[in-house]
Symmetry: C2
Subunit: 210 residues, 2 copies
């Protein structure tokens, strides 16, 4: 696999390619050219070919791309050909929503445990997964080989909890708290800032109205 750095712009597009390829498989399409795909996805064929060729030559001249093959190759690139053990910290609605979302499991993300500090929530069960006390998290992370922690907690406690899960051995944090987490470089942090998304929507709405 190539050593040169892939831009985030490319990485952001990969899951979308993956989704479209999935739909093509479902509708029984066996091969597709960059041109046909470009029309469906509303991006240029050139961009599709450039993006894919960052990772290898998955197509064939005169033929195009084999849908199933390309789909499986992108899965490998994204690392979703392997299982990932995940925990959720924060058993509120958002944490429960993620725990309940079975499509993640289909992509190899298995929720092994949910944690909270609220004694009212501890002991509860979400989709068969027990809500445990946050104190028991470090031991659980080690025992169950957890590599991803989703933080669905208020921003006030996010920094501390992030430090704790990192110390326990978690390798990636999916952060829903509205704050930037400063952690050592060997922990991956992926942010989902819902309020920022809503503000972008608001901006575009305001421009339209003008």
């Amino acid at each position: 696999m190539n050593e040169r750095e892939i831009s985030t712009a490319v990485i952001r597009r990969l899951p979308r390619y993956y989704r479209y390829l999935e739909e093509l498989i479902d509708s029984g399409v066996e091969r597709i050219s960059s041109n046909e795909l470009s029309e469906r996805m509303k991006v240029t064929a050139s961009q599709i070919r450039q993006d894919l060729n960052n990772f290898g030559g998955f197509g064939q001249q005169g033929y195009g791309y084999n849908v199933k093959y390309l789909h499986s190759e992108i899965a490998k690139i994204l690392g979703i050909d392997k299982k990932h053990n995940m925990i959720i910290i924060g058993a509120g609605n958002l944490g429960q929503a993620i725990a309940n979302y079975s499509a993640f499991e289909k992509r190899g993300f298995v929720v092994k445990g949910i944690f909270d500090i609220n004694p009212k929530l501890v002991g509860m069960t979400v989709r068969g997964i027990e809500v445990m006390n946050l104190e028991d998290m470090p031991e659980f992370v080690k025992r169950e080989n957890i590599d991803i922690a989703a933080l669905t907690i208020p921003k006030t406690s996010a920094a501390d909890v992030a430090a704790d899960v990192a110390a326990a051995g978690v390798k990636a944090i999916w952060n829903f708290a509205h704050t930037d987490l400063a952690l050592s470089d060997d922990v991956v942090v992926e942010n989902v800032h819902l309020s920022e998304s809503l503000m972008q929507l608001s901006y575009r709405l305001a421009r339209k109205e003008k």
Copy 2:
């Protein structure tokens, strides 16, 4: 206000500026230079000045930026100085999480109603907001002057529901369904694709491990 198109890269950064300015206000800071802010936010001072000057000269030579003033100007740019009436379609965990998230209301996004097709959920109350039957949505949108609809529903029904809310007069859709919505250009669509975010995390995790 300027007529030239602002790039999405700039728009994506605005909410983050806003958040940092909010924190500065909370900690009693009255003015800040692009240089100080650049250190806190880990972006270049040049970028901050360029971004802001897309919208106007909010600073003063030799002084910097007045934190409160800049904060309020960005609020205006983002359109969050005005109230937005919002509905949520889909009363599952994710819909409930959004309804319960009071911070949105602080930014002027007021959840007026929640809709679902599941009769078990209809009649329920979330944060004092009644869950109504989706059939009653069009009339509600008109009566309550709704301009934003959050779609927290499965992708199978997303396209139809999106068309319905647009027909009812909703001006912007905050889409959580894992599909691209094709709608007329006068409806703003902002996507939150959680599974794509998780795959990006997975990609970065896989690269780290290699």
